[in-house]
């Protein structure tokens, strides 16, 4: 059984609690143990790096140092948390002076960042450690006939880790195929959801959400699958506002990929946090799931 240090991040504590629940449950069912980091702190989110780089690096370094103590690689379900931690680990390995500076501060907490910890996004663990073949073997309730738009968002594959394709990755599609659903091809799968622009420049962000939803609808998607609480919020919660702003009438269900996998593994809906959506689950999906 593969074990990881789990960094939920603040979104999953509240707003994205369904992502948290479904992550833990599906991972468990697939033979992956997620051990929550003790005394973790904020990752700095999307903005802190632009305000105070040193403190932002320190925040992430502290989480990484805690993870290092466990001897496990750290995994984050939130794309922003993942990107910040991965980026920090990579940067501090190169900038030894900065690492020393930060370690000086971490000493207060009896912590030290050595650069030995690996950082992974949860979807990476599902795609690589389990892989589509094994996932397919474990699926008991294939989501046949369901057209899923895999929404990667902008952060999962960046910065490039190895030689993987960062322009047109396919691992999300492969995972969707593995659970019996049909991945749809739509050109905007890698585009930004608007992120925190929704606060500072609402119209621009809503326009971006509109384009994304339109692209998914054009591809006849039943549901959009996300792998980030920020993407989920922008696509789901702001859908109504998009409709008001642009006179559209979108009602596209948005779900975490962990929820869809959970359904295909016949995990009870409640355990996956289903039932708290703003946009009701698609009837087509409701028909194929059991339990």
């Amino acid at each position: 059984m593969k074990e990881y240090a789990y960094f939920p991040g603040c979104s999953l504590e509240k707003m994205a609690s369904s992502y948290h629940k479904s992550s833990i449950e599906t991972a468990k069912k697939l033979g992956i143990k997620l051990k929550e980091l003790e005394d973790w702190n904020c990752c700095g989110a999307t903005t802190y790096f632009y305000i105070d780089e040193l403190l932002a690096y320190t925040l992430c370094a502290r989480n990484l140092a805690i993870a290092e103590k466990t001897g496990l690689d750290v995994v984050a379900p939130c794309s922003a948390c993942y990107k910040n931690m991965y980026f920090t680990a990579a940067h501090l390995k190169k900038d030894v002076d900065l690492a020393e500076h930060i370690n000086f501060a971490l000493e207060e907490d009896d912590l030290h960042f050595n650069g030995t910890v690996g950082v992974k996004h949860l979807i990476e663990v599902f795609a690589n450690d389990i892989g589509p073949e094994e996932l397919k073997n474990k699926v008991t309730n294939p989501l046949e006939g369901i057209r899923v738009a895999p929404y990667y968002g902008c952060q999962i594959v960046r910065p490039q880790k190895d030689k993987e394709d960062v322009e047109q990755p396919m691992f999300f599609e492969e995972m969707i195929s593995a659970i019996g659903a049909t991945p749809v091809n739509y050109p905007l799968k890698m585009r930004c959801c608007g992120g925190s622009l929704i606060i500072s420049s609402r119209t621009a962000a809503l326009g971006m959400v509109r384009n994304l939803l339109q692209s998914a609808v054009d591809a006849q998607a039943t549901v959009v699958a996300t792998a980030c609480p920020m993407c989920q919020v922008n696509l789901e919660v702001y859908q109504q506002q998009v409709n008001q702003e642009f006179g559209t009438n979108f009602a596209v269900p948005i779900m975490y990929f962990t929820q869809l996998i959970g359904l295909s593994l016949e995990i009870p809906q409640k355990k996956l946090g289903i039932g708290q959506e703003f946009i009701a689950m698609a009837p087509a999906l409701r028909q194929v799931i059991k339990g």
Binding site: E167, N185, P187, N211
Partner: protein
């Protein structure tokens, strides 16, 4: 040492080049006093040792003083080693008993501290003296040259080379992997910048090669193995079964007319068109005999059909034909195996293979060719719609650290040609997206100007993405090319109907294996390495193996032809000499010390080491050995020695360089 050597030491001033920094007088006096124990009997310094007077000085001393070894401290051995060896030879001393140590390039030219430079010169000289004691008289190896030549690859470079040699009256084996010679050039429509028809200028040469009495054409064949060495190679060639008896076939074409099986032609038509299961690559193919593609032929799959056999008027079809293995003896080899086109699928953001109307350059070549799948009509993938706007992306897979860092050399001109053809044939608006326009060739820049005047748009920027996600009504149904125009610093979204990716050139997928098979090497980016990038571009480090055309690096047709001819000229020179002299720097395995452990067996990339199972010992073939010495250093039993760079020579040189050869009291701090 049984007898004491008599060593002469000569320190060169090289005008002020050496003497300006190194106190040469002090060095020669020092050597005369301190290197006596090593056998130095005379030490002189002279203005220019390489002059005829300097050389005569050495020769006189050899004769009068009975010198048995000579050490010259002057410039780099790469400059004058041959000079001083010849001087010794002239004086009656074996040339390999002379050692040239560099106190110019490695000392006076790179140091400013005169005292330190003089001390270093002493150490370098001392190293040379210690080394030369262990030199042995050597004789160069002479091997005869077989007059036949093997040319691998029947593209334009290979054809040219074969014709040059054959016209000079010597036999050539021209081996080609595909059923017909012609190579990539046969696929092209027009050639830049003159726009003459590619087939029109190539076909006569193909026919010449096919009919030449001195050329043995082996198409649908591959070289599997090469044994031997310069002057005396034996190549093993597999001639794949065509399933057609060449002696009976007239090339009438009835078989492929009657064949019921249509196959997508991924080679010649770049996947744009079809051929039959029995086919010739293209109508002007040389030789004219078809081949049966056994993977797709109904008879080979199901056991029935034989339509071709039934209709063949000369009974030339032979389903039972087997591969033939030929062994040919040749003196020299030319590799002209060409290039592969960069696979545009690798740049996923350009959407090739995902977005229908994104074409590769080779697809476009076929499309614009009157004999091609669309009859020369430039249309979208649906086969009928004529594009109104066409975007051409330059540098696809080239000048890009993610793929290939090098410039593919031909894509700019090719793209300009495409732009011209599109405008001429469809009147469409054409956008060229380029990084830089590179037109270094006769008439190339003029062609670029012609395009500018024709109204082609040139946008300087690397295309970021090609997508079908429309934002504006005008973008609906189009391909949108996202690019920053770096001259105006504007982000542009250019909607087009058709995109042509001007894909770069890559080394053949099997270039590395081919290089290994022929005992030569690939550079880091995979092209075969020439002996010298400027002064010896068609020879390789392996004697007798030459390269021509794109196998050496991306180049256009005129350059490929020039290299083909150049390689041929080099070989003709060798054939005329009838024999070749090889440096006697070789490894030897001493049989009585060899334990047959086989450690050395994987050390030699030239396959010069053989293992004798019967005697359980390994042996070096001196004609194949290139003298690198890797096996000498690797042998755990110390059973391999290397002439010219023996352990004794190097270990003594270390002693000398560290001045350990000088009695302790005399070492001056």
């Amino acid at each position: 040492m049984d007898k004491k050597e008599k060593i002469g030491v000569y320190v060169c001033h090289c005008g002020t080049n050496i003497a300006g920094v190194v106190n040469v007088g002090e060095v020669s006096t020092w050597a005369a006093e301190n290197l006596k124990n090593d056998g130095v009997v005379i030490a002189r310094d002279y203005k220019f040792m390489c002059s005829s007077l300097g050389q005569e000085l050495i020769q006189k001393d050899i004769k009068e003083q009975g010198l048995t070894r000579v050490v010259v401290a002057a410039c780099s051995p790469h400059l004058h080693e041959a000079t001083f060896r010849n001087a010794c030879k002239g004086g009656g001393l074996n040339p390999y008993l002379c050692e040239l140590v560099s106190i110019r390039e490695q000392d006076s030219w790179v140091h400013t501290d005169k005292i330190a430079a003089t001390e270093k010169a002493k150490a370098i000289l001392s190293g040379g003296v210690s080394r030369v004691i262990h030199h042995e008289p050597l004789e160069p190896l002479h091997v005869p040259i077989h007059p036949a030549t093997l040319v691998v690859g029947g593209g334009i470079a290979g054809i040219q080379a074969a014709l040059e040699i054959a016209n000079a009256g010597f036999p050539v084996y021209l081996v080609e992997r595909e059923p017909s010679i012609g190579g990539h050039m046969a696929q092209f429509d027009k050639t830049f910048p003159t726009l003459d028809c590619s087939a029109c200028i190539l076909t006569p040469k193909m026919v010449d090669a096919g009919n030449h009495p001195n050329i043995t054409l082996l198409t649908y064949s591959e070289v599997e193995k090469v044994d031997g060495y310069v002057g005396n190679f034996v190549a093993t060639i597999r001639k794949r079964a065509r399933s057609v008896n060449e002696a009976d076939c007239t090339g009438c074409g009835i078989c492929w007319e009657k064949c019921p099986k249509k196959v997508v032609d991924n080679v010649f038509e770049a996947g744009m068109g079809y051929r039959k299961a029995v086919y010739v690559s293209f109508p002007q193919a040389v030789p004219k005999y078809p081949v049966i593609d056994r993977e797709n032929c109904t008879y080979y799959i199901k056991g029935t059909c034989k339509a071709c056999e039934k209709f063949c008027p000369t009974n030339a079809i032979n389903f039972a034909q087997e591969d033939e293995i030929l062994n040919v003896q040749v003196g020299n080899i030319i590799l002209a195996t060409g290039y592969d086109l960069f696979d545009s699928r690798r740049i996923t953001q350009y959407g090739y293979g995902r977005l229908a109307n994104v074409f590769t350059s080779l697809e476009f070549e076929r499309m614009s060719n009157a004999a091609g799948p669309t009859g020369g009509n430039i249309v979208l993938r649906d086969g009928k719609t004529v594009p109104k706007v066409v975007g051409i992306v330059h540098c696809v897979g080239s000048r890009d650290k993610n793929y290939n860092e090098y410039c593919s050399a031909i894509c700019c001109m090719q793209s300009l040609k495409f732009a011209h053809l599109v405008e001429e044939r469809t009147g469409a608006e054409v956008y060229n997206f380029y990084i830089d326009i590179r037109t270094p060739g006769k008439g190339y820049e003029e062609f670029y100007h012609r395009l500018l005047e024709e109204g082609t748009h040139f946008i300087r920027g690397k295309v970021a993405e090609i997508s079908d996600a429309a934002r504006l009504p005008a973008e609906e149904g189009k391909l949108i090319m996202q690019v920053e125009d770096t001259l105006t610093a504007n982000q542009l979204r250019v909607p087009v109907d058709m995109v042509i990716l001007s894909a770069g050139l890559e080394p053949r997928h099997d270039a590395k294996e081919v290089a290994n098979r022929f005992g030569i090497s690939c550079s880091a980016d995979g092209w075969l390495i020439e002996r010298h990038p400027k002064l010896d571009p068609v020879a390789t480090v392996t004697e007798g193996i030459y390269i021509a055309g794109c196998v050496q690096g991306p180049k256009d047709i005129p350059n490929s032809v020039a290299q083909g001819a150049a390689a041929a000229a080099r070989i003709l020179g060798k054939i005329q000499q009838k024999e070749v002299a090889l440096e006697p720097i070789r490894a030897t395995i001493h049989e009585e010390q060899c334990s047959g452990c086989r450690i050395c067996n994987n050390m030699c990339p030239f396959n010069a080491i053989l293992f004798h199972e019967d005697k359980m010992v390994s042996e070096v073939n001196p004609a194949l050995c290139q003298g690198c010495g890797t096996c000498v250093a690797a042998c755990p039993a110390g059973a391999i020695s290397g002439t010219g760079f023996s352990n004794e020579q190097i270990l003594s040189q270390i002693n000398g360089l560290l001045l350990l050869n000088i009695p302790k009291k005399e070492v001056v701090a």
